[in-house]
């Protein structure tokens, strides 16, 4: 009887586990049904944060005295921009400095999305829609850069050894899929494991034990995956820089 109760309580705890994307509001548009989900709510909060941050940073930079001592906030902003510039210079070379703005925005967005799990939001990067959109932007950037630097050589390069053409084409299509699945899988696995641990463990353990796991799954894994996504974007784009 006791074991049955224990088993039942275990399953009851497991039913509280919620790892999916929850729909909050349903609406119809052009004959289709859409949902406003928890991902949208998290995204809205994150975008609000970025907007406020951008306005404050813009004010601080405009007020800064170029000849005097910079304030602490301006110093931090300069440090961030310098780090991103250094990363782009190291990954893409002089030619790629025009991409520094995009890479910086991408880095900041993915980092804040991954870290938002710490604040109790559902990370938007744990939704395949978000990561696939980011990967598609990279995909189009790769091929637009290829056309700009190599003109039609970009297309004919796919058929260079003619028997290998299908392999090359599949390789090009696989790039955004593998990039998006890598980010999505890492963040989702962290979210699932954290939800299972919160749902299954007794209350006493929850006071201290998940902290260590949050450090690993949210902070460490999130930072590494942000770096990897930006690095891969830079590597794939800069592969197309040399003209034939």
């Amino acid at each position: 009887m006791l074991t049955q109760n224990a088993g039942a309580s275990l399953f009851l705890a497991a039913e509280d586990v919620n790892i999916g994307v929850d729909g909050l509001l349903r609406y119809h548009l052009f004959g289709h049904t859409f949902w406003l989900t928890t991902t949208h709510v998290s995204l809205a909060i994150i975008l609000l944060f970025f907007t406020v941050f951008a306005i404050i940073a813009n004010r601080a930079i405009k007020k800064a005295d170029p000849y005097g001592k910079p304030s602490a906030f301006v110093n931090i902003l300069e440090l961030m921009v310098e780090k991103i510039d250094g990363m782009v210079l190291g990954g893409m070379g002089e030619k790629g400095m025009g991409f520094a703005n995009y890479i910086g925005a991408l880095f900041a967005f993915i980092l804040v999305c991954n870290l938002s799990g710490l604040l109790g939001l559902r990370p938007p990067t744990a939704d395949y829609g978000t990561t696939f959109s980011l990967a598609m932007i990279t995909f189009f950037l790769i091929h637009i850069t290829g056309f700009r630097y190599q003109k039609f050589g970009h297309i004919t390069a796919l058929f260079k050894p003619l028997p290998l053409a299908p392999v090359n084409i599949i390789g090009e299509i696989a790039t955004p899929i593998s990039m998006s699945l890598r980010l999505f899988g890492n963040i989702l696995s962290g979210t699932v494991l954290m939800a299972l641990i919160y749902g299954l463990l007794p209350k006493v353990l929850l006071w201290f034990w998940p902290g260590a796991l949050h450090i690993y799954f949210d902070v460490f894994s999130g930072c590494i995956q942000t770096y990897v996504f930006c690095m891969l974007t830079m590597v794939f784009i800069s592969n197309n820089f040399e003209e034939e």
Partner: protein
């Protein structure tokens, strides 16, 4: 659908399949361990380049992790969004 092969049977088989899919974790484990070992060797030979070696190693390990994440995606689909059990 007969009594033997009903929806519960499909669900149980899907759970077994999800467990089997995670065997793919072997490959990334071996690959990441190999990369970490080589990284340690490189730091031992050239301690000055520790930061660069770290970055390259982590990038390589994250790319090697992809196949494991594919299996994870398949396991998640089988357990939570199963297309077979309708």
């Amino acid at each position: 659908m007969s009594d033997l092969f009903n929806a519960n049977f499909v669900k149980g088989c899907s759970a077994i399949g999800a467990g089997l899919a995670l065997i793919a974790g072997l490959g990334p484990g071996i690959g990441q361990g190999f990369a970490a070992g080589k990284g340690t060797e490189a730091v031992g030979r050239n301690p000055g380049a520790r930061g660069q070696i770290m970055g390259t190693m982590l990038l390589g390990q994250a790319v090697a992790e992809t196949t494991g994440l594919y299996s994870f995606a398949i396991a998640i689909i089988l357990v939570f969004a199963n297309p077979l059990a309708k």
